[in-house]
C-alpha cells in the first residue's frame, strides 16, 4: 500500500521544502553518474567537462577492448572481467550455501540467538574497509598457501554475508511453521519439507540477497586493492590502474554500462521484495 506523504490540498511551503530537499538529495546522489554518463559520450580526445561534442567513439573503443583477438583488444581487461565474474559467482554460491540453512536455524530457534548472530554477521559492515583489507592481507600472507582466486572470494564472502543473511532471515521469518508441519503431516521428512516448502517460499529473499552479493562483490575495490595479485585482478582494479595516470574515457563507458546493469539488478530486487507480500 502506498500512502501519500505530501499533503495534496494545503501546506504550500511544506510541500516546497520537501521537493527542494528531495531534489537536492537526488542531485547529490546522481551527480557522479550523470557526469560519467555525459563524459562517456564525449567526442573529444581528452576528458574535459562539459564535452564540446558528443559521439559513441568511446563505446566503440570499449567493444574493441573486449574483442578476443582484435587490434585494440586488451587481454588484461578480459581476464580481469572474467575474474570479477568468477569471484562474484563463487561468492554468491558460498553465501547462499551458508545463509539459507543458517537463516532457517536462526528463525526457527528464535529470540536471542537470532539477534546475537545477526549482529555478529553485521560486524564486517562497521569495520573500516582499509583495516579489513590489511587484516585479510596479513592472514593471507601468514597462511603461506597458494590461494589463487580464493584470496578475493573469502574477503568478499565476509562482506556480503550480512546482506544475504538479512534477506534470507527476512524471507524465512514470513514462513509460518505450520506450512512445514503440514508437509510433514502429509508424510514429508523434515528435510523434504525444507526442500519442497521452505526453499521455494524463501526464493525471492534468497535471490534478492544474492543480487546484493553480486553487486557488492563485482564493485568491491578497497579490500580487493590489498588482496589482488598480478594473476588475480578484478575489473575495478583494472579500471583504477587504467585511469590513475591519465583518464581513459573508455573506462567511463565501461563504468556507465556497469551502472546500468546495477540499476537493472536493483530494480529486480525491488520487484522481488515487493512481491513477497503477494506470495502469502
Amino acid at each position: 500500500m502506498r500512502v501519500g506523504i505530501i499533503p495534496q490540498q494545503s501546506g504550500g511551503s511544506y510541500k516546497f521544502t520537501i521537493y527542494l530537499l528531495a531534489s537536492l538529495g537526488l542531485l547529490i546522489a546522481t551527480l557522479p553518474v550523470i557526469i560519467i554518463a555525459l563524459m562517456s559520450f564525449s567526442a573529444a580526445e581528452t576528458t574535459s567537462f562539459p564535452p564540446q561534442a558528443y559521439s559513441l567513439r568511446w563505446y566503440i573503443k570499449m567493444f574493441e577492448l573486449f574483442q578476443p583477438n582484435g587490434e585494440n583488444s586488451d587481454a588484461s581487461l578480459q581476464i580481469a572481467l572474467l575474474t570479477s565474474l568468477k569471484v562474484a559467482a563463487l561468492v554468491m554460491l558460498i553465501a547462499s550455501v551458508v545463509c539459507v540453512p543458517l537463516a532457517y536455524v536462526l528463525v526457527r530457534s528464535g529470540g536471542r540467538l537470532k539477534n546475537g548472530m545477526e549482529l555478529l554477521f553485521t560486524l564486517p559492515l562497521v569495520f573500516p574497509l582499509v583495516i579489513l583489507g590489511i587484516a585479510f592481507l596479513l592472514i593471507a600472507e601468514s597462511l603461506d598457501l597458494e590461494l589463487g582466486i580464493w584470496r578475493l572470494v573469502i574477503p568478499h564472502v565476509a562482506l556480503v554475508l550480512p546482506f544475504v543473511l538479512r534477506n534470507c532471515v527476512g524471507a524465512m521469518s514470513s514462513i509460518d511453521i505450520e506450512l512445514e508441519q503440514a508437509a510433514i503431516s502429509l508424510g514429508a521428512s523434515p528435510l523434504r519439507a525444507g526442500v519442497d516448502i521452505v526453499v521455494p517460499l524463501m526464493k525471492p529473499g534468497i535471490i534478492a540477497g544474492l543480487v546484493f552479493a553480486l553487486i557488492i562483490s563485482f564493485n568491491e575495490f578497497t579490500i580487493t586493492y590489498f588482496m589482488y595479485t598480478v594473476d588475480v585482478t578484478t575489473l575495478p582494479i583494472w579500471m583504477y590502474s587504467r585511469t590513475v595516470s591519465s583518464l581513459d574515457p573508455s573506462t567511463l563507458a565501461i563504468s556507465f554500462v556497469i551502472v546500468l546493469i546495477d540499476l537493472a539488478l536493483i530494480l529486480l530486487i525491488d520487484k522481488l521484495l515487493a512481491g513477497r507480500n503477494s506470495l502469502l
Binding site: 508441519q181 503440514a182 510433514i184 503431516s185 514429508a188
Partner: protein, 347 residues
C-alpha cells in the same frame, strides 16, 4: 468396541509448568472425538502430541495396539488440518491436494484421478488450477480438508479449523465436515473451544481444563450429567448454585425444598447446577415473602428472553420463550421456580 487410538497416561510439562496431566482417552475406530476446553487448557498441546509435533513428557500413544509414542510425525500417517490451514502458497489447489500423494509415489493418471475425486467430494471440481490465494475462506477450508484426507490417513486431526470463518459459513462447514467424516469413516480428533461446535460434531467429547480431563463422554451425557461445576458451566452456561442444608435433613434452593440423590452430603450445603432454561420467573406482589429476587438485566435474544436475577447476592441467569417474561421490567421483584428433578448434582 474397536479401539483405534489410545492415549494412555500422557503428561506434558514445559519446564516447571505442567500443560497436561495424566490424560487417558480411548478413541474408537471411525469415531469423531472433540477436545473441548477454554484457551490454555492444553487441548492443542494434546493434539500436537497425537500428531507427533510435541513429545509427551511421560505416557504412551498406541495406534491399533502398537506403541507409536516415539514415531516421527511424518511416519504416523495422520492427516492434519491446521488452524492457519497452512495451504502451500506456491502451489495451486490440485498441487496442494496431490502433495501427500506425490510423497507416497502415486503419480500420473492415478494421482490426477484421486485429486479429481477429492475435488468432487468437496464439491469444488472447477478450482483445480487456481492458486490458493484466489480462494475464499470456505474454499480454502475445504481444500485443506481434502489435502489431509487425500492420503487416507489413519487418524484425521483438526486444530480449530473453523474458528476463522464467520458464523453462517462455520455452521455450514460443520455440517459438511461431519458428513465428510462419516463418508470416509475416518477416525477424527478435533480441537475446539466452541461448545456448540463440539456438541454438533462429536461422538465423544473430551472436556479439558487446566491440563486435566474433566469429562469424557458422548455430548448428550456431558450436557445432561456434567461431571463437575466447570463442565456444567462451560457447556450450556448453567447456573452454579449452593443448596443449603435445612433442619429437616434436606436442602433448600430459592426457598424450595429439594431432595438430593447423593446421600453423603446431607448436612452440608451442596453445589448444584441449574440451567438457565430450567428456571421460571414468577412476578409477585410486594408482600410475597418468597419473592426475594430482583431483575437486574433483561435482554431479547430473538426467539427467547434472558433475564439476570439477583438472588441473595448471586446472579442467576434465566432464559425462556414464555411470552410472560416479556412483560416483566427491570427492578421487578420475582420468585424463582424450578423442577427439582432438573437440578444437576455432581459426583
Amino acid at each position: 468396541m474397536n479401539l483405534h487410538l489410545e492415549i494412555d497416561a500422557v503428561s506434558k510439562s514445559f519446564g516447571h509448568v505442567s500443560a497436561l496431566e495424566d490424560i487417558h482417552v480411548n478413541v474408537e475406530r471411525g469415531s469423531f472425538v472433540c477436545l473441548l476446553g477454554p484457551s490454555g487448557c492444553g487441548k492443542t498441546t494434546l493434539l500436537r502430541i497425537i500428531a507427533g509435533f510435541e513429545r509427551q513428557s511421560s505416557g504412551h500413544l498406541r495406534l491399533n495396539g502398537k506403541d507409536i509414542s516415539t514415531v516421527a510425525p511424518h511416519r504416523r500417517n495422520f492427516g492434519m488440518v491446521f488452524q492457519s490451514l497452512a495451504l502451500f502458497p506456491h502451489m495451486n489447489v490440485a498441487q496442494n491436494i496431490a502433495y501427500g500423494l506425490k510423497l507416497r509415489g502415486i503419480k500420473g493418471a492415478k494421482q490426477r484421478e484421486r485429486v479429481d475425486e477429492l475435488l468432487h467430494v468437496i464439491s469444488l471440481p472447477e478450482i483445480a488450477d487456481r492458486p490458493v490465494s484466489a480462494l475464499s475462506g470456505g474454499q480454502r477450508q475445504r481444500v485443506a480438508i481434502a489435502r489431509a484426507l487425500a492420503v487416507q490417513p489413519e487418524v484425521f486431526l483438526l486444530d480449530e479449523p473453523l474458528s476463522a470463518l464467520d458464523a453462517k459459513l462455520r455452521d455450514n462447514m460443520q455440517i459438511e465436515l461431519r458428513q465428510l467424516q462419516q463418508q470416509f469413516g475416518v477416525t477424527t480428533v478435533l480441537v475446539t473451544h466452541d461448545q456448540t461446535e463440539a456438541m454438533m460434531l462429536a461422538d465423544q467429547l473430551v472436556v479439558l481444563d487446566r491440563g486435566r480431563v474433566q469429562q469424557c463422554a458422548p455430548p448428550s451425557e456431558v450436557y445432561r450429567k456434567p461431571a463437575s461445576a466447570f463442565v456444567a458451566d462451560f457447556l450450556g452456561s448453567a447456573n452454579i448454585v449452593q443448596a443449603k442444608a435445612n433442619a429437616h435433613g434436606s436442602h433448600e434452593l430459592f426457598g424450595q425444598v429439594i431432595q438430593l440423590k447423593n446421600k453423603s452430603s446431607q448436612s452440608h450445603s451442596v453445589e448444584l447446577a441449574l440451567r438457565a432454561e430450567d428456571i421460571q420467573l414468577k412476578a409477585s406482589d410486594v408482600n410475597d415473602i418468597e419473592a426475594n429476587g430482583e431483575i437486574i438485566m433483561l435482554r431479547d435474544l430473538g426467539p427467547s428472553m434472558e433475564a439476570i436475577v439477583k438472588f441473595e447476592g448471586n446472579q442467576i441467569r434465566v432464559r425462556s420463550n414464555d411470552p410472560e417474561l416479556r412483560l416483566l421490567e427491570l427492578g421487578r421483584q420475582v420468585s424463582l421456580q424450578f423442577d427439582p428433578n432438573r437440578c444437576i448434582e455432581f459426583a
